[in-house]
Structures are given as C-alpha cells and as structure tokens.
Amino acid sequence: MRKKLLLVISTILILSLIFSACAKEPTENADNLGAEQHEEKPKVEQVLKYGTDAEPSGLDPHTISATAAIRIFGQIYNALIDVDDDMNFIPELAESWEQPNDVTYIFKLRKGVKFHNGREMVADDVKYSFERVLDPATAAIGQSYYNMIESIEVLGDYEVKFTLKEPFAPFLTNLTSLYGAIVPKEVVEENGNLMQVACGTGPFKLKEWIPDNRIVLVKNEDYFEEGKPTLDAIEYYVMTDEASRIAALRTGNVHLVKLPAASKPLVEGNEDIVIKSYQSNDYTYLGFNLTLDKFKDPRVRQAISYAINRQEIIDMTYDGEAEVSGFVPSAMGRWAIDYASEDLYKQNIEKAKQLMAEAGYPNGFETTIAVGLLDDIRSTGEIIQKQLEAIGIKAEIQNLETGQYIDAWSNKKHEMMAGRNGAGSDPNRAVAFFFSTEGSANVWGYSNPDVDKLCDLGKKTVDEDEREKIYKEAQKLILNDCPNLFIASPMEYYFVRKEVKNFNPWTFNAEDFKEIIIE
C-alpha cells in the first residue's frame, strides 16, 4: 500500500518536472534582471515602469496597427521624418529632403545611425523597407500609404530618391508614420518577420518579453540624438484589469498608466500622482447604416443631429473635458472648420420633428445603437438613446464585445453605431479615408460624387492654402449629408507618479520618453 502511494507521489513529481522541462524558458535575461535588482544603487534607478492595458500581438511596425504595439515599437523604430508640435515636418532618419518636382522626393540620410544590431543604416535599408511594405506577401497594413510610389532609387549610401506615379500631397505626412519604419533586411530574413524580434534605430531596444506579463526595453547607447534617451530602461507591465493598474500606480509599483477620464476621482487627493492630459485628435461619432431605408433620407440624419445635445454628452461622459468636434478635430489645426457654430450642431427639437415628418416618420421609428467596450462610447450611446426619445426614435442599445463590434462595423451588421476614430494628421486621411466612396474606412455606404471630386483634388494639390480650401469645402458637404453625426473630441489622460519628470504628452507623439528623468 505504502509503496503504491509512494509510486503515485513520485509520478506526480516526475510529471511536474517534465512540465517544467518542456516549458520554454521565459527568457535568458531574467537572471540578469533579478541580479540587477538586488544591487544597491545610491542614485535612483532610471527605469520607467509603465502599466499597459494590453499586450501587443507582435512588434512588426509594418504589419501591426494596434495601439498596444505602437506604444512599444514606437520606442524602437524610426521613420524617415517626423512632425513637431505645430505639425511641421522635422528630420528623423532623413536629415534633409528636397522636392525637385511634384512627383520626386530626394532624401539625404543621417550618417552614422546604427541599427540595434550595430550595423549602420544606409539608403539600401530605406529601399528595402518600403519594398517590404509594398510586397503583397508581407500583407503590410500601410500599403495604401505608399502604393503611389513608382520607384525607389538608391543614389548613394546616404541618399535615396522616391518617384511617385502622380502628385500625392499627403506623401510626406505618410512618411512620418511608422507603417514606413526603416528596418534591417538581415533581421527580417533571419526571423521571417519582425513579430517577436525587434531591431530598429530608435532610442530603446528590446531586451525581454514575457508573454502576457512584461516587455523590457533598454537604452540604445548608440542613439543618434546626442544625450538621449535619459532613461536606462522602460518596463511595460501588461495589466488588463483597470483596478489593478490603479492599485499598482498608487503603491508605486508602476510610474505611469493611461486611464479614461472616469478614473480621475479614484486618485483625487493623492499627492503622489499627477494627471497629465492633452487634446486627442480622436472624435466620437454616431454612424448610420445608409443601406437601410430609414437612414437613406438625409433629412432623417439631419433630424437626429438636431435632436441631440452634444454639450450634454460631453458634460456627462467627459465631465465637460472634451470639445464639440467634427471629423477633422481642432487638434489638426488649420484643416479644421469651426463645427460648434454650425446650425446642425445646435439642438432644435422642433426642426428635428419637422424634418422627421417631412421624411415620412412623424412618429419616429425603432432602431438600435451598437456600442463597443469603451466606457465613453457606451455612455455616449446611452445619452443619445435618451435624447432621441424626444423625436419618437426608440433606440435599443446593443452592447458588443470587441470582435463582434468590429464585425458589425465592417459588415454593416448594425443600424446605428457609436464609435471613436483617430483622424490622423493629414486631411486626406480624415476626409477621404473615411468618407470618399472608395475610402477603406467608409463602411457606412456613403457616397457623394462632389466629395469624391474634392478628395481627388485635395490629394493632388500640393499648395497648402489651396488644399485647405478644398478640404474645408468637403467638410461642409459631408457635415450637411450627416453620414455620421460627429460629437466630441475627448482629452487623453496619463496618470503619472510625481517622481517622473520631463514627461509632456501632446497630440501627435504622446509617448515621447526620451528626456524623462526619475527623481
């Protein structure tokens, strides 16, 4: 009997040993990390600990577009150029550029920039990177950003020429995106892709990645900007649970988390935590499925626009901290029109009822509003549901899980849908991508030939003032057609421990950690 029991116990032990052996070691560097943490250092460790809400599925800048991933590979890779606070183009991997004619761009590259594997970045890498993006086998997400490129010519180690098929005004803007990050060929070829490995030219390099737990980046000593980065490392801890992120921040286990406005009261009165906010270039919307009869008549959509009170939505959802916005939010500067003063943005129930009656719905109708998991979108949907009762529209809220929500969005499985879009930094994106007939994000079935013409013109017009006029005209047309109702452009919030200095998020590069100091 005892022998048998012994046998059972030893079998269990052996099994658990086998499990341990089969399991891949999480990281070869974990030992070093443990050792470092036991060392006593007189000065404060320059390590930024970031509580992130989701784990990236991979770090390939050409094929991944999720925020959770961009947050991390944004520290690892560089694009050719960048934009500054005022949306002017500034050098990044290219130190200067010229445009001899409408379809030709010549970039002079920075000398001495090194990839994280130690090799110098040269013009061949630029050519390779864009060819990789345009290769259908890569299935790169940013193909449409660059598919106007006719050819890429290497003029020397540090000089590269892009020739476009036709003039394309947003070309430089698109080059600021990491969809066109410069990557080294040998690393891609060795690993097949850049999902689990990373080798860029950015201020930080990938040190370890423990799935569903943490990603550690360490300082790139060879980074091309003198004296940067000031941090030795950034540790991203994946904490999907919001309460856990707040608790970890409160106790100093992490320095920085990004949270919605609704979490602000949870840290009020805590002197160790500072809230840093900036105006996003996102906007919230209520979209209509224009293939349904009841939404085909623009008068119905206009009636709904008159029926809702945008300021009330902002007050209740964002505690007043958001702007009434259109689909070109004010963060996009010169390109935006003043939406708040538009007649369609002023609540007018009488006019709404009249329009509904004219459209043949004097008593309203029944419909649904699909919402996803974002708190502000749910709240927006619920308030709109309430506000629409005034004109007889009975809307039922459909709470959808993310997969279902995306499915409903892309396959018109909804009637009305509340959502949130990022407008980008060029009006071509904000207008044509979402509202031209062929725009890939035009999932609503919206089509206005005049808008299409303007979008086409805007794309080819290089003169900025001329472009501004074109896109402002397009905005007015779309606004009047109401394919979506545009509601608010919210703020974004970082909750930061007070020991973190020099962190100033802004719209077009919220997570610039290059100069952060931990005190």
Binding site: S57, S65, R250, S410
Partner: protein, 317 residues
Amino acid sequence: MRAYIIRRLMLLIPILLGISLMIFLIMQFIPGDVISGMLGIEETPELRAQLEKKLGLDQPLYKQYINWISKAVRGDFGTSFRTGKDIFPEIMSRFKITFQLTIMAAIISWIIAIPLGILSAMKRSSIIDGFVRFISLLGVSVPSFALATLAILLLSKGFNYYPSVGYVDITVDPIRNLEIMFLPAIILGSSMAGSVMRMTRSSLLETLRQDFIKTIRAKGASEKVVLFVHSLKNALIPIITLIGMQIGSLLGGAVVIEQIFSIPGLGLMTLTGINQRDFPVVQGCVLFIAFVYVIVNLTVDILYTYIDPRITYKAGR
C-alpha cells in the same frame, strides 16, 4: 487495473477529436474573425485577401480542419495567427504557471477546509459549527473575482501594498515568485475551501451515523480513533471527487484571477486567444485543458482504490 487505465486513455481519442471539431465549428460561428481584429480600421479587400493567403484561411473549411488536425496528432499545434509563435511550447510554459497556482490554491484550501470541516462535524449544532458553516457559505457565495478586486483595493489603499508587478518564474527567484503568487492563491484557495468545508462536514456526519461506527464505539474505541482511523478515511471519497473536479477546472486556468493579477497562465492565454479570434491558439489550449481534465479525473478514480480497497476496476466492466 492496467487494462482499465489503458481503456480510459483510449477513450481520450474520441473525446479530444470531438472537442476539437466542436471548437473549430464554434470559432467559425462566433461573429468577427481574426483578420478584422488584426486590421481594424485599416482593412481593405486586397489586404484581407493577402492575409487570408498568408494564414491559410483562403482554403475551404474542411481542409483547414484536416490540415490542423493532421499536424495536431503529431504534437504540432501550429502557430498563432496573431503572434506567429509556436503554440505548444507556449502552452507548456503557461501551464507550468497555472499548475503552480492550482497546487498552491489547493493546498491552502485543504489547510483551511478540512480541519474546519472536521471540527464542524464533531461539534455539530454548536456555535463553532454555525460559524464554520457561515464562513463556508460565504466562501461558496462570494465569487473569487469580487474577492480579488476587494483585496487589491483594500491592500493598496489601506496598506499601500500591491503584490509586485511582473511575474518571475519560480526557478529564477522563488521568493519573489511566491510573493506574487501568494495572494491569488489565497483568494482561489478560499473560494475552493467553502465547498470542500461543506463536503467534509456532511460526508463525515454521514459516515459517523453508520452502523460500523456504532460498533466501533461500542467496542470502546476513543473518539480520536473513531474519527481519524475509521471515519475520516471513509468520508474521503466524496471529498476527493470534489477536489479532483476543482483541480481539474483550475488547471484549465483561473481566467479571472490570472487576469486581475496579471499572471501569465493558461487561462489568460485562452482568453486572449478567444478575444482575438486566434483559432489555433484557442483550439490548442482547449484540447490541452480537456486532456488535463481527463487525466485528473483518471487520477482521482485510481486514488479511490487506495482509499477504499473495496473499489476495483476490471477491464470490460
């Protein structure tokens, strides 16, 4: 006995095949697919076609299933659509963590539940019994996610304590590992303890009422001997059954607890797989979980024969 075990293991084959087919079909029917999730707003028909080709989703459904299953029987669970990583090694490394959490939770629950259950049965209808029954009812009724959130909130607000962020493997730093795992294990353990406590109490009371106990008492055996030598062992069968079921389901991943405490276990992997519609990951995880569940059940059945020698398994019965 050996024939019985072999027969049970053979039964695994149709069970696993059935489960794999079911999961495959369910993943086809739930709205949303992996490509929409990957591309989001950037989706274009061309990009979708390119990705379908890259991931092999352009093949007819039956072919996709056959491709997958023919590799799976050879131990190759394929690679994740989203991360491109091999699934089987990932499952093993995640399972190691879930295994540790389960064992810790189980031990904690036994330490709490079995002595209290015995005490409660011995002092039946006393204040102690009432107290234990109240505690166990609480354990059964309060869901572990509520307990976990409450614990995190109280500890962080009241004591400025948060169980260290960032999982560390037990082979790397056992002390930190235990610090991280302790709180989730206690919460899981106390949730498990409620039902074990109730089962111990009722099973023991049942046994104490039986005739052979009367006989032993009549023979003049002390209460200690009655309890520990004669009753407890007989009362163990339903307790072991319950514990087996609890362990079986916990080994499949304590999804919510793993999520709240950011423990990279099997549950979290499965959940992420489902959320991202990453079919090979879900398929692999579910198959593995089913396999573990069957093995745990088999182990429990074998344990019966040690606890109660009257139980035998004959082949063909």
